[in-house]
């Protein structure tokens, strides 16, 4: 089922008088940069989900907040949908434009406004890159903890909109755990402050509600994040296992030993081979699974925990446990993992990255089921797994130039996500729903739950002009999606109790 915006099932969008809109924007903001020629719009037709492309009506690139406010007011007045975009690195199509909409690019708001070492906060504009915050905090011995793998390029506004994660979430939390305050503009261009410089604020926790709301409730214009003292030291252990089950058990055993690693990552054999071939990290290529366990904190504690974890890994049946001897080797161990996606990309012309989460105990069964689905669909799947927090990234290998392979990859991906829901997990751990997983939302939530989501949207954007079609599917779409599944012979998990 096509995931591009389909007015038949996603709701009719108002027609836009492009000339009148251009005129109105230009009249009010003569200096505002507006792209409207076909060739200028091309670079903006997709985000990190490059398989999905739509040419927007217009792209606006404001430099001043009053311009953003003005754009929102004009679009609201003229009934024009608005899709906000940061660096465009999102993997779920959250910033996929609309043919009948304006793409509001916030990337030029890239100033770090203030770093306050005493309060341990950074106040930044939404277009600031994630990594740039930590770099700016170096002189104070502080850093910003969430580190999505795109951190070199992704912008903090997008991180907030998607509630981005990373490899250190188990210990340090997601974006939502590391925010103090955001400034937003509503669809009508009204300014609201959510959260505060204190640790809480009166009333409903709108900061939590907006984090991960994928640009459907408001446009983020400023963010205050928490900074943490840099851990004194970090050590990495690499353990090889001859079965995925044993590696999974080792993860549970580490937690049971009362240890919360800074990072705890698993890779399966296909991912190990790909990474080793690409990065030469020194991974054992014959292992069925490896675990990378990073322990960080104060030197003495890290030393003790390394001894404990090594013991746990050996007891769980690791065939080999190696501790990075120095910082260079630690970085190399991580480089293999952090480059796992491009490494897998070298095995195949295209790959499709999934983002389901599962209770960790379900891992062996889920990996087995993925292997089976992979065989059924005739596509290879490499598995990379944030093992500490149950976030899987199966990478489906395919060749878009072969007829039908992209569709097969999408079908396989959808089935993997539905499997995650079935075992009590979620269709997305950190990449967001966007357009990519819009159909799978119908498997995770029933129509009453989706109706309440739409009600929340209505509270902030009754006209549905902010990023329509993302995050929450219409009931119509779910009905079509369900019908398609029935047509194929079975409902998605009819045995599941759905409330």
């Amino acid at each position: 089922m096509n995931i591009l915006y389909d007015e038949q099932v996603d709701g009719a969008l108002p027609d836009v008088d492009k000339t009148a809109l251009l005129q109105a924007l230009h009249n009010q903001w003569p200096a505002l940069e507006i792209l409207h020629q076909r060739e200028d719009l091309a670079p903006y037709e997709c985000d990190g989900l490059s398989a999905c492309r739509t040419t927007p009506q217009l792209v606006v690139l404001p430099r001043h907040l009053d311009e953003v406010q003005g754009i929102l007011r004009i679009c609201h007045e003229m009934n024009v949908p608005v899709v906000a975009r940061g660096a465009g690195t999102g993997l779920s199509g959250g910033a996929l434009p609309l043919e009948k909409g304006v793409l509001l690019v916030m990337a030029r708001f890239n100033n770090i406004l203030h770093i306050d070492p005493a309060a341990r906060t950074a106040r930044v504009q939404p277009g600031v890159r994630n990594l740039a915050i930590s770099q700016a905090a170096v002189p104070f011995g502080l850093y910003y903890a969430p580190d999505p793998s795109s951190q070199i390029a992704c912008s903090i506004g997008g991180n907030v909109a998607e509630n981005a994660g990373g490899v250190h979430c188990l210990k340090y939390g997601l974006t939502v755990h590391n925010l103090l305050k955001v400034e937003i503009l509503t669809v009508e261009g009204e300014h609201l402050t959510l959260g505060s410089d204190a640790l809480d604020s009166p009333g409903f926790d709108l900061l939590a509600l907006f984090t991960g709301s994928e640009g459907l409730l408001g446009v983020i214009t400023e963010i205050t994040v928490k900074l943490l003292p840099r851990p004194q030291t970090a050590k990495v252990l690499l353990a090889a296992f001859d079965s995925v089950e044993n590696a999974g058990r080792a993860v549970a055993d580490i937690i049971a030993a009362g240890i919360i690693p800074g990072g705890l990552e698993m890779m399966d054999n296909l991912a190990i081979r790909a990474a080793e071939d690409f990065i030469h990290a020194g991974y054992p290529v014959d292992a069925e699974a490896i675990l990378l366990c990073e322990l960080d904190g104060v030197e003495a504690d890290v030393h003790d925990d390394c001894i404990r974890v090594r013991q746990v890994l050996e007891n769980a049946g690791a065939s080999e446990v190696r501790q990075a001897r120095d910082e260079a080797e630690r970085v190399r161990f991580w480089a293999g993992r952090k480059n796992a996606f491009p490494a897998v990309g070298r095995l195949s012309p295209d790959y499709y990255c999934m983002d389901g989460t599962i209770p960790r105990r379900e891992l062996p069964g889920v990996l087995q089921a993925i292997a089976q689905l992979s065989a059924e669909h005739g596509l290879r799947v490499a598995n990379v797994f944030h093992a500490g927090d149950g976030n899987m990234h199966p990478l489906i290998l395919f060749d878009a130039n072969r007829p039908g392979e992209l569709e097969r990859a999408e079908t396989l991906g959808g089935k993997i996500l539905e499997l995650c829901v079935k075992v009590g997990g979620s269709i997305t751990g950190e990449h967001g729903v966007g357009r990519e997983k819009i159909n799978q939302m119908c498997a995770q939530f029933n129509s009453d739950e989706l109706t309440l989501f739409h009600a929340v949207k209505t509270a902030f954007d009754p006209g549905g002009l902010l990023n329509p079609g993302k995050n929450i599917p219409t009931l119509h779409r779910c009905a079509e999606f369900g019908a398609m599944h029935i047509h194929a012979g079975q409902l998605p998990f009819p045995e599941l109790e759905r409330f």
């Binding site: 009204e190 609201l192 402050t193 640790l199 149950g390 509270a459």
Partner: protein
Amino acid sequence: MNHGKDVDDSAALLEQVNQALHAATPLRIQGANSKAFLGRIVAGEILDTRTHRGIVHYDPTELVITARCGTPLAELLAVLDASQQMLPCEPPAFADDATVGGMVASGLSGPRRPWSGAVRDFVLGTRIITGHGKHLRFGGEVMKNVAGYDLSRLMAGSYGTLGVITEVSLKVLPRPRQCQSISLEMDSERALQRLVEWGQQPLPISAACHDGQRLHLRLEGGDGSVAAARDRLGGEILDGSYWADLNEQRLAFFDEDMPLWRLSVPNNAPPLDVNGTRLLDWGGAQRWLKSGEEAVLIRQAVSKVGGHATCYSHGLIDAPFHPLSPALLHYHRRLKQQFDPQGIFNPGRLYAEL
């Protein structure tokens, strides 16, 4: 994990909500009523959540516990304790029989809050009964879940005004291996300075409170880091029970016969120019004030430094929670309207308009 009294009574709760919707009767949602002193006075038929109780699921290696709303908080904590785990946000109970539902609905966190996070940070999933008479599930039992809006966290601290929380899943963590508390003599200004300095260093501080004369610190972590910090910071040994007394407001400070205010401010805010006695918690970010000053003066002073003030003395003023800006109040009303169109859940508990 059956404690004999574990009952799934959600059908009865749902039935009571549906009757209230039908009869347009406001409901006063309560567990043990341990936090009834917070917020405005609510008139309504009591919806007692305590019949719906029991731990639904707990697997220590998954670091998640799921419990029904009426489960006594003490029972949940005891179950975690038996597996050497804890709720890091250290919610105060204010009564022996306080419930898990009330803990989430009030969203109050204890001394570890600045370092570990608040109740909302540990909420992974909830089931709620809405003002449409539906029993719905949001979030789940996994650490990372960004599907749909985060309505579970929105429930934390909403004081039952958006719906009846029937079940919650919470992230839990292992108890630290080592815990020591110390006390150092210094004035509050000096204490705030030191806390700012220490906050930029990887020290294992997990609680910091200044009572006017002494700075009390709790150190938690591995053996090595706690011992090293203990050596470095010096001071006298403090009995660890101090933190529960602080959290449950059993210290002598709280006995004084004056209105009690909670001031939530940036940790490095200067001392506020308000008459009264005070106790600094959360490393300076939560300040307790015993003062007979006018609410408006207290709120002005705290707003000036970017914070807000809650009155903890029940019935003293009509707006115990810090008033919202007109723009924010507008969106609060619209949200309330969507969750509870008939306005039957704890009407007026948080604000008169909600």
